[in-house]
Each structure stands twice: as C-alpha cells, then as structure tokens.
C-alpha cells in the first residue's frame, strides 16, 4: 500500500467518525447518515482497489477510472458553486431587506 492510500483511508475514517458523531448527537438524521456512510465506504474501496473504478468507467464509456472520477468531481463542484452563488444572492437580498427595514424603523421614531 502506498503512503497516499494510507493517508486517504485515515482521512475517510476520520470524516466518517464525524458523521457517526453527528448521528449520536442527533444533529444528523438517519438518511444523510446512510448516504455519507455509503460515500466514505466507496472512497475507501476506490482507494484500496483503484481498478474498481475502471469497471464502472467502462460502463459509462469512459476510458479510465481516474478520468471518470475527475469528470464526476467536476460536475459536483460546478453544481456546488452554482448552489453557493444562489445562496449568497439570497442572503444578500435578505440582508438588504433587514438593513432597509431597520433604517426606516429609525425614521418612525420622533
């Protein structure tokens, strides 16, 4: 096993421990807990046996497993950036509404 594999597995275990913690403290519902568990388990499988991705990649018509992982990661990142962008716009609007309401409240005072 390469050092990078050890590091990645340790990180996956650490991340999963946070997920378990969330479930125990009740801050993370069961469904997201299961999804995250499957996700980190998948990460461990890919790290230990990278060739498994090749089989999946082949199904999708992508040459190499690593390429598939990168494509998927890019799609996810784009989606997250868009979501963040929309969320920030929404927050900006709420903030403006609050600041404006506050300003006008001061006007009503004698």
């Amino acid at each position: 096993m390469n050092p990078i594999q050890v590091v990645l597995i340790l990180f996956a275990l650490f991340a999963w421990s946070r997920v378990v913690n969330g479930l125990r403290r009740g801050t993370l519902p069961l469904t997201p807990f299961l999804l995250w568990t499957v996700f980190w388990a998948g990460v461990v499988v890919i790290v230990v046996r990278p060739e498994t991705t090749a089989a999946v990649a082949h199904v999708f018509g992508v040459g190499r497993g690593v390429d598939l992982v990168i494509y998927l990661a890019l799609v996810v990142v784009f989606f997250l950036v868009f979501r963040l962008f929309a969320r920030i716009e929404d927050l900006e609007r709420q903030l403006t509404r609050f600041v404006r309401a506050q300003a006008l409240k001061d006007l009503d005072k004698p």
Binding site: R93, L95, V99, R100, Q102, A103, L104, D106, L107, D108
Partner: protein, 227 residues
C-alpha cells in the same frame, strides 16, 4: 394638507466633503430632503443633517439601488406627492432637480428622467462616459425593451403612484436599468428632460469604473434571466 409635497431623495456613501453643499442647494427646491446614508464610514450623515436633511441610515453599505429604495419608501411615509432622486456627489444642479419636480407637479406623467444626452448641454460629458452610457442604454433596451437616452442617470422623478408601485430587487448601480424595466412593467408615462451635469474632478472619481460597469452588466443579465 392637500397641496403637493415635493421630496428629494439622495443616496449617499462616504460623501462627507460635498453632501452638505448638495443638501443646502436641494432644500431650496423641495419641501424635504432625505439623505440615505448607506453605511458611510465618514461624517456623511452628520453633515447632511447639519445642512437640513432628514437622514435615514443603513447600518451597513448595501449599494445605490437599495439606498434609493429606502429613500423613496421614506419619502412616501412623509406624504410625498412628487419625489426626485439625485446624486450625492454634486454633479446635479438643484434647479434641474426643481424642474423634474415641476414636471411631476403638472400631474400628467409618472416618471421623469433627467437626461444628460439631450438638449443644449449634450456633448459636455467626457467621451468615455458617453460610450459607457450608450452601452448602458443599449443593454437596457435589449433586456427590458424601453428606449431612453440616459438609462444611467441618477436624476429621476417619480409620481406618488409610481413610488407606491416601484419594486427594485437589485442592490447596486444596476438599479437604474431595472428602474426602466419597472416603467415598462407598470405602464408608467415617461418623459425625459434635458439636464446639465457638473463634472468636477471629485464627481468623476466617483461613478462607475470599467470593471464596475462589467459587474453591473452581469447583474442585469442575471436579473433578467434568473429573476
């Protein structure tokens, strides 16, 4: 009180050196002047109040569009029947603002835009500003379907009806074009009147930069297509 009440709204961000002068000029042509201090870090609010304005303060900076909206809301609460907005940097002349309000007082229009691009004063604008302005007008026309000669003018007038119906959603400079969109949405009667602009080194240093213009254009596009 059934008579006309003329109110001037001035959105201001860090204009302490000039705001007092602008307000003292403005009070001569209106019943009340409202300065919206948009989270300034200098003495803009104090200077405006000392000069005779009613000051409404945004706790943090939210942009010219948000400040203008707040000012217009405040004006309607004061019972305004005609409202004019003007820039805080001293580029507009009080007599032009007075003429915008006079035009509204005639009662046959809902919106007046003071245009720097018509009349005898045309051509005094620096060349690069004219270019930016044309691009702004074109973008406004393409996106919102209303043709005006000065879509980015800060000197505008609204009747009480228009002020009550107005709903701006953008915060920054792009509100000027969004305002034009509101004209179309509500079917307001619009006129443009020629105004003069006083370009000082100070007022030229404010305003929109090229990068700011691109940001404004991007926000307009997102406002038009993403809502």
């Amino acid at each position: 009180m059934a008579t006309a009440k003329r109110v001037i709204v001035i959105p201001a961000y860090c204009e302490a050196t000039v705001i007092g002068h602008v307000v003292r000029d403005a009070v001569r042509v209106a019943h009340a002047v409202i300065v919206v201090d948009d989270g300034s870090t200098d003495r803009t609010g104090d200077e405006a109040r000392a000069a005779g304005a009613i000051v409404v303060r945004h706790a943090i900076n939210r942009g010219a569009g948000a400040a203008t909206s707040t000012g217009i809301d405040a004006a309607t609460r004061l019972g305004a029947t005609a409202i004019a907005t003007m820039d805080a940097d001293g580029q507009h002349r009080a007599e032009d603002v007075g003429r915008v309000l006079d035009r509204l007082d005639q009662g046959d229009v809902d919106v007046v835009i003071g245009s720097r691009m018509i009349g005898s004063e045309r051509g005094r604008m620096p060349a690069h500003r004219v270019l930016f302005n044309r691009i702004g007008n074109l973008l406004t026309f393409v996106l919102f379907g209303v043709r005006v000669t000065d879509s980015q003018s800060g000197l505008k007038g609204l009747s009480r009806k228009a002020a009550d119906q107005l709903e701006l959603r953008t915060n920054g400079w792009e509100f000027s074009s969004e305002f034009i969109n509101e004209v179309r949405t509500h079917g307001w009667r619009l006129v443009e009147i020629p105004i003069a602009v006083i370009y000082t080194e100070y007022s030229l240093s404010k305003g929109q930069s090229l990068g700011g213009g691109f940001r404004t254009a991007a926000k307009l596009l997102s406002r038009r297509f993403l809502g």
